[in-house]
Structures are given as C-alpha cells and as structure tokens.
Symmetry: D3
Subunit: 244 residues, 6 copies
C-alpha cells in the first residue's frame, strides 16, 4: 500500500518529522510517500495562510494521483483543503486533524485538544463543529507555542504543551488528549506516559485510518459534493489548475 503524505506548508523539516511519525506506525507493507508543498506559506497559522496554501496542496494531490497512490494524508492539523482534495482525488483523503478527533473519540469519553496559538482555536472549533464531533471535545486549549518554535530544540515548547495537558485533564476532565499540530507528532507517546492519559497524534491517527480505508476498499463517494470538478477555463497565474 502506498500512502501519500503531503505537508501543505513549504517547511521541509516539518514534512520530515511528519513522515517519520507516519513510518513509525505504518504497517510493514505500507509505503509513505512524503511531499512538501512547492508554493505558499512556510507555516499555516490562521485563515490567510490557509487560503494561500490551497494551490500548492492541490498541485501535490494531483501529482500523487498521477503516481497512483492508494490514499492521501493532509499533514496540517487545520485539515487545510480537505474538501477540495476529496473532490480532486480518486483515492481517499484523510486530514490529520479529523483523524485525531475520530481516534480520540474511541479511547476517551471527552477529549481535549492542545494546539499552538490562540488564533488557531476558532479554526479547530469550527472543524470540530463541521465534523459533528464538537460535543465530544471538552475544550480546545492554546499553548501559545508558535508552529516554527516546535522546530527549535532550544525552546521550552514541550514544557508548555505538557502544562496545558495537565490543565485539560484536571480542569476540563478530558480523559484523552489530541495534540493540535503536525509539528508535535514526536511528542505524543512521551506525553501520554507522563500524564497517564492517551495522547493522540494526528499523523499516526491518519496513517491508521488511511490503511483502514484502503483495506476495506473504501474511496470517496463521488455522487455528491465530492464529484470531480467540472471542466472549465481557469485564468491568469492559476490557468494551469484548470480541470480538464
């Protein structure tokens, strides 16, 4: 099985970290094909970055489709471009945010989310509402760790995230924790052991869900809003994205 993992921002070190997390949990026969977006923002923090990450993501999905992958994983916790990717691809698509929420729902009665900056909280809350899982989430908490700080070994990012997990368990009564950024993928197991609570990393979760979909022979339904884009002209800088 070949799974395409795409990082929709342009920071290659984050792609590598996510790919490593994916390979650590993948079944022996699963191959992880990792790709970094070639255009747009270096990290996705808020609505504007999110909007400008979409063309690079679509380009990556189209390229991987051409290579005949079995599934796609979007390795950004905001699930950037998930619906558009499902419309474009034939293979199933899993976002790491939704993946984490779904698995957390299976090991916790009420899960907490610990993410990076406060400005990401409403994006995550909106996704939870859209997926239907808002009622399963006790609270979305911000650690005020910026995405690129996670790439800096000298920062105190881990300590701040751990403190926020402690508050989620003690104050919000969360009995499972979701780490709300692809850049936190390497912290999940250690933080879980430290707090005695299941800690879900979205990358690992998405690999498991993608494998589950492929083994069960399930692909995105095309009879509704995920139908292939209608052929039409695209203009200007983006003319190359026109659906045939």
């Amino acid at each position: 099985m070949r799974i395409h993992l795409v990082n929709p921002n342009t920071t290659a070190s984050m792609t590598e970290k996510a790919a490593a997390a994916a390979r650590a949990v993948a079944a022996p026969a699963t191959q992880i094909l990792a790709r970094t977006s070639t255009m747009g923002p270096a990290s996705i923090e808020g609505f504007y970055d999110d909007a400008l990450a979409l063309p690079g993501l679509m380009e990556a999905i189209a390229a991987a489709e051409g290579e005949g992958v079995d599934a796609h994983i979007i390795a950004c916790f905001d699930d950037t471009g998930l619906d558009a990717a499902r419309a474009l691809a034939h293979a199933p698509v899993v976002g790491i945010g939704e993946a984490a929420f779904h698995l957390a729902s299976l090991v916790g009665h009420s899960f907490g989310v610990v993410t990076t900056l406060r400005r990401s909280v409403p994006v995550i809350e909106a996704n939870l509402a859209r997926y239907g899982l808002a009622a399963r989430c006790a609270k979305v908490r911000a650690s005020e760790v910026a995405v690129l700080e996670l790439e800096d070994p000298a920062s105190d990012a881990r300590a701040r995230i751990s403190a926020e997990i402690g508050r989620a368990v003690a104050q919000d009564h969360a009995d499972a924790i979701v780490l709300g950024c692809a850049g936190m993928a390497d912290l999940a197991r250690a933080l879980g052991a430290e707090h005695g609570v299941p800690v879900v990393d979205g990358v690992a979760a998405a690999v498991g869900l993608a494998e589950a979909l492929v083994r069960a022979g399930l692909r995105t339904g095309k009879s509704g809003p995920y139908a292939a884009p209608r052929a039409k002209p695209y203009a200007g800088l983006l003319a190359g994205f026109s659906p045939r």
Copy 2:
C-alpha cells in the same frame, strides 16, 4: 462611502450584473467599485473551484485596501474566502450569502434557499451551520440551473427557479426566499412579486449591510482569529502573496 464589490470568479459579465444590482439599491452617496478576479475559475461550483478562487480574491482585496475603500463585498453566494478576507482587510467584509441569510431572518420566520446545482447545496448548508442560521432555514433547494446558464437569455433558467420557489413556499412552509447565486441578482424583485413572498438577493443585502456597518463605524475585530496575517515567507508561484 466607497464599497468594493469583488467577483471572485473571472467572468466579467457576472461582475457587471452584480454591480448593477448593487448600484440599484445603494444610497445616493455610495460609490460601488466593482472588480473581477484576474486568476482562477470562470465560475465557482464546488470545493475545488472555491479553493482556486482564493488567491485572486486576496489579490483583489489587497488592491482595494490600497485604494482606501470603506467596505468589501464578496459577490459569490458561497462566501468564498470570507474569513481570509476579514483577516487581510482593515475595512469590514460582507459575503453575499451571509448577507442574504441575515436579512431573510428579519423578514421571514423560516426562509428557503433556491440555488443552482445540487452539488452547491452542502456548501450552503455548511455555511448556514457555521453562521448559526441553519435553524432559520427551512430547506436549501437546487434548481439544477448551472451558473453560466444564468448568463444565457435563451435558457429556461428563470422558469425553473420560479418553480422551485413555489415548492419552497408550498412544501417547506418558507415565508421568505433567498436566491442562492450572485447571477440571480436581477430576478429577485420580479420573483417576489410573482410569489407574494419576500425574495432576497444577496448582492442587494450585502450593500445594505456594508452601508450599515460603515455608518455605525464598525470594522472587523482584530483581537481574535481575524488578526492580520503574521509576517512570514511564501514560496514559489505564490511568493508575491507573502504578508509583510
């Protein structure tokens, strides 16, 4: 007062129709500056078109901000890029979809929406849920009229839309109707008279709301997720979109 109306698709005839609808209801002192996107899809029908319309929309918003407009209107019923535009702009931003839903809530106890293709229905339903107004909407109905058919005077588009309005009133007990496409802006008054029910066009609604915001001195709050984008490098084809 100067209001920037941006059509996020690249079809100039739709921009002209929307601009005419805007000017027809604007206050005497209000100036409508209409702009057509320079890149991306010729019409927005589904998630993929929506994703690729965002860079052109952001470019237009940034250009109008540079000209010092008082408010922006996004003239696509899907409210494409609304959150990103609010983060980017200093002036307030109104989407024609949300505008129509808000005004319909003031004249109807339960409004119906009549849109173009079935594949747009889930997008509109998701927007209604996101805005909190889903419970105010009786049903979103598709007329199966494609967006560009609305530009063709020989089509039977108007008759099919009228028939769907009739069903919304009789079967769904809607007591107000929202027309679910910018390209239907010229039909609202006549259809309202025909059916004896208020029929809301989003362009007219958005002009009224933009004027209301400006007169009340209200701009987008910047203390939460609509904070200005953080400065960071953007790569590749989209390097020019990098926030300073």
Copy 3:
C-alpha cells in the same frame, strides 16, 4: 425614507437618547419618527414588565402604520413583542437586540454581550437561541447596572460596563461586543475606541438594517406565522385592540 422608532417603555428620556443615536447614523434622506409607549412599565426588566409592555407597543405600531412609515424599530434590547409586531405591521420590523447580534456576527468571529441586570441574561440567551445566533455569542455578561441608572449622569454605570467589556475580551475571547440595552446607545463609539474592539449599539444597527430592508424592497412575509391577525372580538379593557 421614514423609520418609526418605538420605545416600548414609558420613559421619554430613553426614547430621546435612542432617537439621537438613530439620527446619528441614519442616511441623510432618512427621517426617524420616535414614539414613547403610552401605557405599561417605565422600564423593561424581566418577563412581567415585558408582558405588560406589549399593548402599548402594539398601539404604537398600529399608529405608525396608519401614518405610512417604511419600517419599524423596537428600541428595547429584549426585542419585546417582535413577533407580534411583525404580524400586525405591513412594513418590516427590526428589534435592536437582533440587529446588534446580526451586525456583530459580521465583524466578530465570536461576540460578547454586556447587559444591565443578571435577570436579563436568560431573556437575552433565549433570544439568541431563537434567532439561531447562540453559537456566535461567547457569553452574555451582566454589569449589574439597572436600566434607569443609565439615565443618571452621576452613576458609575459607564465604568462598570467598561470593566465588563474588558473581561469579555480577556476571558471569553470575544472579538466584538454588543451593548445589551437601548440606554447604552451613547456609549458605543467611545467604549470601542477604549478597548480596540468593535462595540455594537443596537439602535444604530437597527437603523442600518431597516434602511437595508427598505432599499432592497423587502417586507415581512405574510404566508406563515406573520400573517395578519384573524378578525375576532376582543373583550374588556383591551376591546380596542381587536383586529378588524
């Protein structure tokens, strides 16, 4: 355009303050006809006052309809009698509470409400739920300022309201504020400047929405629950209110 603004309580100084706030934002050609209720409570604080304010409100709406106004504004933040007024009137009707919630939804991702007494909080929460906008509201806060204290220049009402706005921004992460009483109409701009957050006054909001409805040619839909009252006898003290 002639807009009827009715204060459903009997305190004329509140009517004057609301009329001034309305005139400050109305378009040049808009005329504000202000009217104070002739019967019932001097201020509306809770369910009982609300119930007894309705006949006076209906009398005022009927009188203004006779004068051929283009729209009605109910200048009580509880939106007292809104549904009944819509049934009675041919012209559209806007409540200042709903108006403020709708405009706040356009400039904030999540708005807070700062009102007078704690006992008003459940009324406002119920209205938010009824309008569908509860999910857009972070929290309704009481300043414990009584309505008539707002008419007393010597009170510390403004300071207490300002403190509560500070808590709404810092603790509830509200990025827009709604002032929850018609008597606060004169405070909105200054408090907005002080806190760096959009502060919405319902009176100004309602004027903008009423103008928007009239310019767009929209009136209340009469095919559903806002149908005109059925002719029937009324008895006793209220015999004069009988629908013809």
Copy 4:
C-alpha cells in the same frame, strides 16, 4: 389542594371544557378553580392574539394568588405568558403545552403533535425548542381546524384530527401523540383507543404535574429570572398592573 386553572382567552365554553377535563383526572382532594380572562382575544391564534392575552392572564394570576391557591395552570396550548406568570406568582405555574410534552416524553420515544391551524405550528416548535424537548418531537402537524370550530358539534373537526394522528403514526413514526389545543381536551381518550397509541391532553397532564409539584413541596425558584417584578410605575391604561 386548590389548583387555579385560567383560560387566557375570553371564551367561557372553552374554560368549562378545560375545567371538566381537569376535574376528570384530579385526585379526590383536589379542587379546580376555573377562571376565564376578562380582557383580550376570544381565542389565541398567532403572535398578536398571544400578546394581547397577557394582561388578562396576569390579572387572573394575581387574583388567584390573593385567594391562596396552591398552583396555577395556564389552559392555552401556546403556554401564553408562562414566564411572566412564574415571575408574578408564588405558587408554581404549569402550562398545558409544556405539561403535555413532558408526559408524552415519558410514554413515547418520539411524540407527534396535532394542532389546529398551520400558523400555530411555528409557535409550538419554538416552545419545544425553548423547553429543550424539540428533539423528542417527531413533527408538529396542523389539522387546519380553527379553535372555535372545536366548540361546534356539527363540524368535522374530530375526523380531521383523527386523520392527522394516523399520519403522525404511519409517516413520522410517532409512538405517542399530543393534542395541541385546550379545546381538544375531551377527545384524548377516545382517539387513543382508536389509534392504539397514547394520546396526551395538556389539561390532564397539567393537573397531574401541578399535583406532583404541590405534593413534593416545590415552588418556582426566585433567585433567577423568575424573581418577583421590581416595583416601578406603570402608566396609562395599564397603570393598575404596576408591581408594588
């Protein structure tokens, strides 16, 4: 135990029918004191009638409080004035609409409501939402029987109501039925036997709930929005309603 049953419309024959239904189910020691409103509409059909029924209702509640009753029942299915009555009274207050919904929730998994005119449906739906019981209700159906037709033995009202019950069971899968008008109180048992499904009359339900509250020593909580009205002047026609 003395229970005050007030009909908030002015039609005495409906009061008598409701009082008879109440006495038929009351415990032997329970005394039903029935009272007809002295002012306002002859029947309550829609928002305007509802608004003008409130003063007469408040007058009746106050009179009965003076007589020292143990509980009040508001015998209109719209639960007209329920919140205001709770604020005014010391004794507990039960609306026949809410009473029917609560009991139907105990005998059915999903109940249906069959009411009079279509225009009443949104009122009932709003009440269900407000009480939290909307999810327990399969559908609110209108029989298009006007309230006063129920007082006319020659009408085919009973047959139309029965047909609508049949549709609620067959099409909506309701396993309990609520009759949505005080004037239907005499039909419940026979229609239940006819359809083999529990049919709940609000008057009978309210008597049982009022008795339950009194026996359990429960009165309306006064620490929140049901606090007694604040003393303040009332003006004009309604000056007599001023809270002391």
Copy 5:
C-alpha cells in the same frame, strides 16, 4: 393505585429510604410496592455496575407486571434500564432521574444537578442529552460523596452536598437544584429551606409523574421501539429471561 418502586441495586436500606420518600408524597389512595433487586451490584457507580444491574431489574419488572401494578418507578438516578423496562412492561415506567429533570424544568429556568462521584457526571450528562433537557441544565456537579456513604449517619455527606448546592446557585446561576442520587431522597426539603431554592428529589418527582400518567390513562406506546420483545431463545445463565 399501586405503584411498583424497584431499587436496581441490592442494598435493602436504600430501597427502604426510597420507599419512605415515595410514601411521604403519594396521594392517600396510592400504594407503594417496594422491591430490591435480587442480583447484581450493591450500588450503581459507573457503566459496568449499570450493565450488571439490568437482569435483576428486568426480573423485578416482570414480577410486578405479574402482580398487576399500575406503574413502575426505577429508583436509581442513572435511570438504569429505563428503555428496556418500557419495552418489557405494559404499565408505564418512570425513572427517578428523568422525573427530577422534568419537574425541575417546571420550577426553574435553569437547574443544577448535585450528584455523588465525578464518574457519574458523564452518565447524567448523557441522560440529559438523550432526554433533550441538557440545555435546561446549568451544570452537573459532583460532591464526591460515595453512594454508600449516604447510608452512614456519621459521614459529612450532607455538608458536602449542601456546599455544592451553594456553588450551583452562586456560580452557575441555577434557580432549581436536582439531587442526583436516590440515597439523597431524605435531604431534599431541608436543603431547599436552607438555600431558599427548590430542591428536587427524584423519588418524590417520580411518584408524582407516575400518578399523573395513571390518572390520565397513559401507558407506554408500543408502536415503536418500546414494542414487546420478540419471542426468541435465550441461552445459558440467562435462559430464564427469554421472552415468550
């Protein structure tokens, strides 16, 4: 009228306390038949106890049906086995949890629940959601008093429960309180007097609701999911439970 009150745990002292609470509020002609489960857990604290309490509860319901009772009350605040009991019985069934929530909805605008251990909170919250009454509940609070401590006169259980009621009123603005355990039935009146707020005991509430159902001639609807169990073989230890 004969009402069967079944304690689904095996602790007879709790049955006696609940029976006493029931008899204290029952109408003179009502007979309370109390029964303790003969199998399963000594107290029900969490999902596992709940699951193993069901056979004993079903045995008790079947036995009482054989004796021709008019109604059943399940005297466990978790409403253990409520749906299964409704399917099995011909007489109506009332759970003390749901009974308390329904009556609290009639005397409070927003009620609080004070229960035993924190682990019971999610069970109660799930029930509130299932019944539709979650929005009526301000908060479910745990006093951290274990069920069997309530049977020990030397414990400080009452003081801890009282303190939690104080917090529910002051912090959550609850204007009615539900005691969340059958073992607290003897405390309701005194705590209500102490705090000046209605305090609802589920046992008393259930007796009132059962009497109300019986007097109104209402039994569980059998046309939906409460249909009698289909005849089929049961195996092993539970073979005796097979529906005929």
Copy 6:
C-alpha cells in the same frame, strides 16, 4: 497483533460470518480471535435483548483480557455494552456501529444507514447522537429484514437491502452508505460496486480502527468514566461478575 472479536448474541453462524469479514481485511500479522456469547439472546433486536446481552458480553471481554489481547471488537451494530466494556477492559474497545460511522464520515459528506427492522432505527439514531455524528447522517432506513433472515440464503434480504440503498442515494442524497447489521458484512463490496457508492461494513471498519489504535499505542483513558469498576459485592445469579 491479536484482536478479540466478540459476538454478543449467541448465534455462532453470525460470529463466523463476522470473523470471516474481519480476517478478509486484517493486516497479515493480525490475528482475529472470535468468540460467541454463552448467555442471553440469539439475536439483538431492541432494548430488552440489548439489556440481557450485557452479562455475556462482559464475560467474554473479561476472558479475552485474561488472554492478553491487544484490542476488542463488539460485533453488534447497536454497539451493545460499549461503555461498560471500555470500563472493564485495559485494551481498547471498538464497536462496529461507531466504527462504520467514523469511516463513513471520511469517505462521504453525508452518509446513509440501512439497517434491519424499524425498531432498531431509534437505537441507531440515539447512538449517532451520542457519538456526535448525527449531523453527518442523512437518514437511518429500515429494510424490514430481520437479523436471522440474513442467515437464510433463500430469503430476498439482499434485494430489499439493495433497494433501500438506492433510495438513500436518490432521495436522501447520501454519498456513502453504512450497512446497519453485523450479519450484512458479506454484502458490502458487491453492493458498493452495484450502486457506485462507498458501502461501509462495520466489521471491516472496526478491524481497521482497532489496528490503528494498537499501532498508535492508544488505550482507553481511565481518568474519567471509563475508570475500572470499583470493588464491591454482587449478589445472586450474577455474584460471579463482582469486580475484585
């Protein structure tokens, strides 16, 4: 990896069919340990069967825990006893109903469920609400095929299920289908091909999710309501189930 699949009814042929479906999708290194309940109902159709299936299920979970399995799958679409199993087990537990809903959410925008008898519909709807996924489900449809008919090759069960899938796609606009019974596990792939829509079998879905949880190192959180049962005496027929 060793996954315990337990059929909570006592029909061994259904266990075998589910085990075959599980093995067909499991990763090469995954071992499926299938077990049939030794006590209770031969099939689970409604609340009473569900209640009496719980002891047998708990016995099976405890036995498999003793054998050191890595995960448990409950092979009944009602997710019978899921919460109790999570409290009892150390290994993670997945219900086939929830598994199907979660995977269907990843391949469809709005999924439909096709189950056996109408009486199962409310059980499934309640589960969807409890999991938070109700808004993702277009409709739960009954094929009126009884569970044990699925074991009879001569029945027309498959045709009736297929017809219902057709209606879910055409009328409810479902773009993914969930088969609502473990006994339908062998039909998913063929029905998916026939209708051109993803058809999710809960057994296959549960295997994928269990593998995903185990690979990601995730077990049920024990800090909340899934804490191990408290030690206490159990009486009578069920004394053997007492938690140590």
